[in-house]
């Protein structure tokens, strides 16, 4: 069933942190929509606000020092920002689940993995002990954990990184969430294990129809997984397009720079071996330049860049925040 309103709509989200050094604008007017069964990739370098965006949706921003200043996060037609903490708790882990980057630190080391999954089932689905046990085995089976009936009695430290990530995914899937926020789900894993986990996430999305917000710094993972991609830079989305369009015709100078600065495994080696780079470093979020925040590193910079560019539409679905594409 295709609904008129998207599953998740984030509008003009501003999340800031009040620190001793000043006000850090971690998320600076982010807006996007996500339909069910869709994977939206949120990509950018460290400190660009991609994780904070994910945490804002789940209401997990520590307050203080953090604060969501403005914006709306409309999930299934209601604005999550108007919810009380108690209401949020019934959503979190239930309608919206999260998969974290480091499965070792996000699982509790003193409980067995089976216990931790049963806990989710008890809280959100109120099933009996016996049922919970059966469901746990089933969930672990779904995510491809070998010998689940035995392994559910193990502690996180007894498992490898890949297995722990499978447990995390099983836990996220327990309540058949409508939306999963996966924050760097494979970054801590080796490449052969990463391939296994990405395949698993893909399969689960097909089977359950859940939407996924995939947060990563790895453009390769994005290309592999995402339907649409939003590239973030210093707290804002600078380019937003269907995955193929983004890689075929990247429009923002930052996106181009990112794509060119990765050594390509599928392209012949250049003689000089030099990579194209983006000059300079990411500006401090405490002290962003007025206007386009990429201007100091951009090779196409003009005087116009001192004004903040709005989104320009390259096509119906491809928008970019850069004056170069002004019509």
């Amino acid at each position: 069933m295709k609904t008129e309103t998207p599953l998740l709509q984030v509008e003009d989200l501003h999340t800031v942190f009040y620190t001793d050094a000043g006000v850090v604008k971690a998320v600076n007017g982010v807006e996007f929509a996500l339909d069910q069964k869709q994977i939206l990739g949120l990509v950018g370098e460290s400190g660009c606000g991609k994780t904070v965006t994910g945490l804002s949706i789940l209401g997990l921003i520590p307050q203080p020092p953090g604060r969501i200043e403005r914006g709306h996060i409309v999930f299934e037609g209601t604005d999550l920002l108007t919810f009380s903490e108690k209401d949020m708790r019934s959503i979190r882990g239930n309608r919206i689940a999260m998969i974290f980057q480091e499965p070792m630190t996000s699982l509790n080391p003193i409980f067995t993995v089976g216990y931790q999954i049963r806990e989710v089932l008890h809280i959100h689905r109120r099933v009996s002990k016996q049922e919970a046990k059966g469901l746990t085995v089933e969930m672990l089976q779904n995510v491809g954990l070998p010998d689940p009936a035995k392994r559910m009695h193990e502690y996180p430290h007894q498992m490898s990184g890949g297995m722990r990530q499978r447990v995390m995914i099983a836990m996220a899937l327990c309540c058949s969430p409508r939306l999963i926020i996966a924050d760097e789900p494979t970054t801590a894993l080796d490449v052969t294990i990463q391939a296994q986990i990405l395949e698993l996430i893909h399969r689960l999305k097909e089977n359950t129809g859940t939407a996924i917000l995939l947060i990563t710094h790895d453009l390769g993972v994005i290309a592999e997984m995402a339907d649409t991609v939003a590239v973030m830079y210093t707290g804002s989305i600078v380019e937003h397009a269907p995955c193929d369009d983004l890689f075929d015709t990247p429009c923002h100078p930052y996106t181009l720079g990112l794509i060119h600065s990765i050594p390509k495994i599928d392209q012949p080696l250049s003689e000089t071996k030099r990579l194209q780079t983006i000059a300079g470093v990411v500006p401090s979020l405490l002290d962003l330049p007025a206007g386009c925040s990429f201007q100091e590193r951009c090779i196409h910079v003009t005087t116009k860049c001192r004004l903040n560019p709005p989104f320009f539409y390259v096509s119906d679905t491809h928008r970019v925040r850069c004056w170069l594409h002004e019509r």
């Binding site: 370098e45 460290s46 070998p146 490898s160 890949g162 297995m163 080796d190 490449v191 052969t192 294990i193 990463q194 391939a195 296994q196 990405l198 395949e199 710094h217 790895d218 453009l219 390769g220 993972v221 994005i222 290309a223 592999e224 995955c243 193929d244 890689f247 720079g257 990112l258 794509i259 600065s261 990765i262 050594p263 390509k264 495994i265 599928d266 080696l269 071996k273 030099r274 990579l275 194209q276 780079t277 983006i278 470093v281 990411v282």
Partner: protein
């Protein structure tokens, strides 16, 4: 060109004791490096790739004599490193330097950049005091830092800049060999490209030889002349970079390469997904160490362990049935 390679490793083993019996004898070992023979030629970049726990870092540390090998010999410019007395070894160290993965923990937070880079001259008693500072500034310039950075502390720098400091430190004594252990994996992609370019430039400028340890195959393909693929403490494939990536011989190499996510959807090949995890190096499988996960395995693979052999010119693999 000298015939003698810069480094020659002969049947190197490094076992770490894990448990001891009541009488203090080790009864269980982790075989981090388990019989590796390898040469590093002058002026080349040899990359060592593999997944976590395959022993690539241990190998790098053994080459620099930072770990004492359990067995086997390492020759540096034809001389056995073990034969050096500690004092002599310390002098030798100026010819071999290391760049570390984590630019945050590998720089002393209480020293200024000029001390960090200049310490090498103190240790080796090389330059008069006045010259030292001049040389430090020169080094900072080479790695793309500014003069005024010399008096700052590491915490004032970004990750990429810190890695530049680490590189300046490694270059201070004009080393012949630089072992770079995951030098770019802690960095963001746009910064990673800057550091890779710097490493490539420095190599041609100073005729450096690199042993480049990494888990990132796209980076390895970009920077290397030859590549050694490790799996559970052994080299499973060794060869020149171009051919190894275009036509891998070992099933593990094939799977590794196919597992890399590729940005261009049209060029994406068929993905080979390996079943299961890397077995524990405590208790590696009998026979070929890769055979439990190998999709081409045959009965012979579980028997005697295949040895690394030359299949083609400069193409070595430890597989009975190379692809």
């Amino acid at each position: 060109m000298n015939v003698e390679p810069l480094v020659r490793i002969d049947r190197l083993k490094k076992h770490y004791p894990l448990r001891w019996s009541f009488f203090g004898r080790a009864i269980a070992h982790v075989n981090a490096v388990d019989g590796i023979s390898l040469t590093v030629n002058r002026g080349e970049t040899l990359s060592v790739v593999g997944e976590s726990g395959c022993g690539k870092t241990t190998l790098g540390r053994c080459i620099l004599n930072l770990e004492e090998p359990t067995d086997g010999v390492i020759y540096f410019e034809g001389r056995n490193l073990k034969a050096y007395q500690p004092a002599k070894m310390r002098q030798m160290r100026r010819h071999m330097q290391m760049i570390f993965q984590d630019p945050y923990s590998s720089l002393n937070p209480r020293k200024t950049v000029s001390r960090i880079v200049g310490d090498a001259f103190d240790i080796h008693d090389m330059l008069p005091k006045k010259e030292r500072y001049r040389r430090v500034l020169e080094l900072l310039d080479i790695v793309g830092l500014r003069k005024e950075h010399a008096q700052r502390y590491p915490h004032e720098f970004s990750g990429g800049q810190r890695q530049r400091i680490g590189i300046a430190r490694a270059l201070a004594l004009n080393p012949k060999l630089v072992v770079a252990d995951e030098p770019v994996s802690a960095l963001d992609v746009s910064i990673q490209a800057q550091i890779l370019n710097l490493l490539i430039d420095l190599q041609s400028q100073f005729e450096l030889t690199y042993v480049f340890i990494s888990h990132d195959l796209s980076v390895v393909r970009h920077i290397s002349d030859r590549v050694a693929v490790m799996y559970l403490g052994k080299i499973v494939e060794l060869g020149n970079c171009r051919d190894l990536f275009s036509q891998p011989l070992h099933p593990y190499t094939e799977a590794l390469i196919s597992a890399i996510p590729i940005a261009d959807r049209k060029k994406r090949g068929r993905r080979i997904i390996l079943a299961g995890d890397v077995p524990s190096p405590l208790n590696p499988p009998q026979g070929c160490r890769f055979h439990p996960r190998c999709r081409y395995r045959q009965s012979r693979c579980a028997g005697k362990e295949p040895q690394l052999r030359e299949v083609n010119t400069d193409r070595w693999t430890a597989c009975y049935y190379p692809l």
